[in-house]
Amino acid sequence: MSGQHIFLELILMPLLAFMIGLFLVLMMRKVRARIERRVGPPFLQPLWDIIKLYVKKMQISHGVIHDLGIIMLLGGYITAEVFLPVPGMSGFTSQGDIITLIYLMMVPSLGLALGVGQCANPNGSIGISRALTAMLAYDIPFIVVIAGACLYYGTTDLTEIIALQKSQQWGLLSMPILALAGLIAIHAMLGKEPFEIYVAPAEIATGPMVEMSGKYLGSLFVMQCLQIYTITVLYTSLFLGGGYTWFDFIPKLFLVALLPVMITVIFPRYKTDDVLRWLWKWPTGLALLGLAIVVLQG
């Protein structure tokens, strides 16, 4: 692969991720509105929000680490995008496998946590405490799912996993229970109700975002786009055979994102304890069952 080609992918992959992420966010808001019998936001609303936040005339920072956290957060997700294979582009996927990817996805969380910590707002700290707790909650079923999938495919290389699914069958069909557990895990990962303990606007004033304004909040919006994209692509690659072309890839992403959104609207919010208990009970149990089936099969 030529250097030029790689460079192009380095720019293009995050950019595409951002754009698709914008539409995913839009879809989420739209679907939510429609379920609530509202019209919902205009087509470019997510973009307007981000631009508006970036062009705020006053930008309040709480210190260098506040800025650094935001930069880490953006940088972490931009890195993660390059390690996610999409149709036509595989970036650096062969240089870092799915384990690397999972841990790369934790870097933005750490960045956010640092930035929020520097804000010195107790609500923000509570939010981070809850976010990390939630991470402990949803990562356990998620890791079991990943382990099961990797065990089934016999590799941790995402491109190989996709290729295997193309030649055999989708992970969804061969490991339906793991796929279900994974879906619940990514629901929690997206931080949607009933798992949105760390945003909790009515309790802790949106937690980590409480002191975020202007482009800081804008960057968080960007992060949200990239996060949804990353998670859905990861799930698609693991269970839906990745994409042959962008035309079947993007619908898969939307489908993956759609399912949690459809469910989320009807829920209120769990307590932190309940999130932990629920996620450690049901999806983890399902995932372990799926893992057992994988182990017994192979």
Partner: protein, 249 residues
């Protein structure tokens, strides 16, 4: 092309504030920015009075603010609009001002209900701040007791138009005419009134320092700060100090 206005600070040093006259690119950017700002409004409801009850219908399925790009937000840091519904008592006003100062410009204030216009049915009350615009630069009043959601939405749409035209700049007045607003605030809260946000410093930073930014009232504030040597500890201690003093009275 720059014209430099020398201004007087509390440290009696002269700093230069440049005022750019805009070229065409900047004008284009400004136009686009205003376009986006008008289409994405985050609202912080400061629901102190009865008018708050009219907001949920405006947000939910009947009227659906979100189709206009208006979303509720819960902290002043994230919000563009401060919606003040109903009467503002003096005690509440302190919080309103604090919240307003923590919002990021461009920021807009909408007073809903008659009470924010002239005190409404509380005009005789000793404990109510009657005219909100004496303490904060208010962009728009939506009168009525209470105004219906349609009125609220119409008001918001008018504000959006103003923003898109680039006319909703009254938030700059708070910096440019800080002395005036501070004076009114001091009139209500006493001479030791402080907030954590250093408005003069911000005005300097964002080049919003005007001729009326400082005056007798800000001098009083600065004097108090210097007297109590609270520069290092900043606003909070001053606030606490003032509160305890008032308690002694």
């Amino acid at each position: 092309m720059k014209d430099v206005i020398p201004i007087q600070t509390n440290n009696t040093e002269t700093i230069a504030v440049s005022k750019n006259s805009k070229n065409i690119y900047q004008q284009a950017i400004d136009t686009f920015s205003n376009f986006c700002r008008a289409r994405s409004l985050f609202v912080l409801h400061y629901c102190t009075g009865c008018g708050a009850i009219e907001l949920p219908p405006a947000m939910t399925s009947r009227f659906d603010m979100e189709r206009l790009g208006i979303q509720p937000m819960v902290t002043p840091r994230q919000a563009d609009i401060l919606l003040i519904t109903g009467y503002v008592s003096i005690k509440t006003l302190k919080r309103v001002i604090l919240t307003y100062e923590q919002m990021q410009g461009p920021k807009y204030v909408i007073g809903i209900c008659s009470c924010t216009v002239n005190g409404g049915m509380y005009w005789q009350s000793y404990a109510t701040a009657k005219v909100l615009s004496e303490y904060l630069p208010v962009d728009m009043y939506i009168a009525g007791c209470m105004p219906r959601p349609e009125a609220v939405l119409t008001g918001l749409q008018q504000l959006m138009k103003k923003i898109e035209k680039g006319e909703a700049n009254s938030w700059e007045n708070y910096f440019k005419r800080y002395d005036y607003y501070l004076g009114n605030q001091q009139h209500l809260f006493g001479d030791t009134w402080h907030t954590p946000t250093d408005i003069l410093e911000e005005a300097r930073h964002y080049h919003l320092y005007g001729a009326e930014s400082t005056g007798n009232n800000t001098a009083r504030l600065i004097k108090y700060t210097v007297e109590h040597d609270l520069t290092k500890l900043d606003a909070p201690l001053r606030e606490k100090d003032s509160m305890t003093k008032r308690g002694k009275k």
